[in-house]
């Protein structure tokens, strides 16, 4: 494996991506809103409820429908603390997965379909790299920043959540073990999922926008996870998150195998 060539392509793609506002804006804005602003809104909610004199009875009912393991994790907390932990620790967990998914998708769309659209792919195909090196470089170009942005987002969220919830919780409460498994096991897998779908979509797409729109269906499973979490059908726990990660890694394997089959010079040059 010619790692110098692989890293050169990664460097090129990242430099190009950083110049594309359509790529950079969602990568900056979404984490800021989700992980910078949202914790403060949630933390402020109990105070608002107190002011308005409204109770959180519905939340109590919701928690009562959750699995016993989840209820145990909230044991000993008062209602205001339950609101903080319920929303900031559990409800936001599946939403967090949107970040690596979105970053991987948007960069992969730019790296695969965008490269063809800008007519820069041909020079790469004439370089002394193998198809496998080229494919790996393209994968890393999207996967590394997706995982990197997710880690930065996670750190930012950890700081914001603890800061926002401090008055109510009176201690550091985030992250718990489930979140660590989510970040270090599921996030890399989900980034790979966005990437795998985009590789297949990019083969057929006309350009960056086309690929990004077609590939956005990949968010649907994450929305289902959010629904499962809210409804109590599938509440995130360490075991659930471990299994979820395993499933996504398996799916990645299939998608990347298919992607590798389509990523061949002969096919790519025909579409230049």
């Amino acid at each position: 494996m010619n790692w110098r060539a692989v890293l050169a392509i990664v460097r090129k793609d990242l430099k190009v991506v950083l110049q594309n506002k359509s790529v950079i804006l969602p990568i900056v804005i979404i984490p800021l809103v989700l992980f910078g602003v949202l914790p403060w809104m949630v933390a402020f909610a109990p105070h608002l409820v107190n002011i308005a004199g409204v109770s959180f009875n519905q939340l109590e009912e919701l928690i009562a429908r959750m699995p016993s393991g989840f209820q145990a994790s909230l044991a000993g907390l008062n209602l205001n603390q339950k609101v903080i932990v319920f929303f900031l620790v559990y409800m936001l967990a599946p939403i967090f997965l949107i970040l690596p998914l979105m970053v991987a998708s948007v960069i992969a769309a730019d790296s695969f379909a965008g490269e063809r659209e800008r007519k820069t792919l041909e020079a790469l195909l004439y370089s002394p790299t193998t198809d496998r090196e080229l494919f790996l470089a393209k994968l890393l170009s999207a996967w590394l920043p997706a995982v990197g942005v997710a880690l930065v987002g996670f750190l930012m969220y950890a700081i914001m959540a603890n800061a926002a919830g401090w008055l109510v919780m009176g201690r550091l409460f985030f992250p718990n073990l489930m979140w660590l498994v989510l970040v270090f096991w599921v996030v890399p897998a989900v980034a790979g999922l966005g990437l795998g779908v985009m590789v297949l979509v990019s083969v057929r797409a006309q350009g960056f926008q086309d690929a990004y729109q077609l590939g956005s269906v990949v968010v649907v499973p994450v929305l289902l996870l959010v629904f499962g979490q809210v409804s109590g059908i599938m509440v995130f726990s360490i075991q659930v998150v471990l299994l979820l990660g395993l499933g996504v890694w398996f799916l990645n394997g299939i998608l990347l195998w298919l992607g590798n089959r389509t990523f061949q010079r002969g096919r790519l040059i025909a579409r230049v």
Partner: protein, 313 residues
């Protein structure tokens, strides 16, 4: 000079029902500038892609430098440079970044990268604007940068696909000078795809003419002229009062002639007819001041080949 760097035997490539390259056989010698002529869609670009191992041929054999493009594609491409029909530059990056990234890709020794990039930027007169984004460059500058990129690793064999397409005459002249310098100074073999016949005539040692994927002619421009151009136009200057007599004489010998200002343009069957014409004129007492043959150029060769191919269909 005689060692073939490209040897192609019965090479055929099909895209479905369409035959892009049809039973092509030719050799390119080391150090020569080899012109590959043909109209758009004649199969020139497909041939470059086959020779660099990007496409798998439907049938036939090829050997490029010391490599089989099918089995040793990456190793072969480390020794070839390709200027694609569109410059294929990352316009969001600077010229310096475009070159330094490809220097890594082509395995230029790490300590040499900065020096090599600056050397090329200077040679191609881009050093002053090396840090600017390529998007702001003129077409000629982009083309020069793309050629510089193809030369980063000092390739033994350089493929140029329509290197002057869309360039103004001055920029095209610049590219021509570069190609001549490369072949002369660096001993690089150049495989030049073009449909610009003046360019081919000026630069190429030998040319191949491709017609619908088939090799229609191969040789030096002079050889092809002799082989394919059967008609020759000569300019005849005689004294003003003898022009009418001269025209009568030419008519008697069934020669086509027409007057253009002071000169008669006479069409002959070939160069062998020139001494005969001179003999007839001087033998009839006509004072002959000048008799000059128009040198046929590749354009005439090309159209002649095209006519022959059309008549064969």
């Amino acid at each position: 000079m005689n060692q073939p760097v490209i040897a192609i035997t019965n090479l055929t490539h099909r895209f479905g029902e369409h035959i892009a390259v049809d039973d092509l056989t030719l050799e390119v010698r080391s150090g020569e500038i080899f012109g590959f002529l043909g109209h758009n869609g004649a199969g020139k670009t497909t041939t470059i892609r086959l020779l660099n191992g990007l496409l798998t041929p439907s049938s036939g054999e090829m050997r490029v430098l010391r490599f089989n493009p099918l089995q040793d594609g990456p190793a072969l491409r480390a020794h070839t440079g390709v200027l694609t029909e569109t410059p294929s530059l990352d316009e969001r990056l600077s010229a310096y970044d475009n070159l330094s990234i490809f220097a890594d890709l082509y395995g230029v020794a790490k300590p040499e990268v900065g020096r090599r990039v600056e050397e090329l930027l200077e040679e191609f007169e881009l050093l002053d604007r090396a840090k600017e984004k390529v998007a702001g460059y003129s077409k000629g500058m982009k083309q020069r940068l793309a050629i510089a990129r193809a030369l980063l690793h000092k390739p033994e064999l350089l493929f140029l696909d329509e290197p002057t397409a869309g360039l103004d005459p001055l920029a095209a002249q610049h590219v021509h000078d570069l190609v001549l310098r490369l072949a002369g100074r660096d001993g690089c073999t150049v495989f030049l795809c073009t449909h610009n016949l003046t360019e081919a005539e000026r630069l190429c040692d030998r040319v191949a003419v491709l017609d619908h994927g088939r090799l229609a002619a191969l040789g030096t421009p002079r050889e092809l002229t002799r082989q394919f151009v059967k008609r020759l136009v000569v300019e005849v200057d005689v004294s003003e009062e003898q022009v009418g007599d001269c025209q009568e004489l030419l008519k008697k010998h069934a020669l086509e002639a027409h007057r253009e200002k002071e000169t008669l343009l006479v069409t002959l069957g070939g160069r062998e007819a020139i001494p005969q014409l001179a003999g007839w004129l001087t033998g009839s007492g006509i004072r002959l001041y000048r008799l000059a043959a128009h040198e046929s150029d590749l354009e005439e060769v090309y159209f002649s080949i095209h006519q022959i191919r059309e008549s064969e269909k």
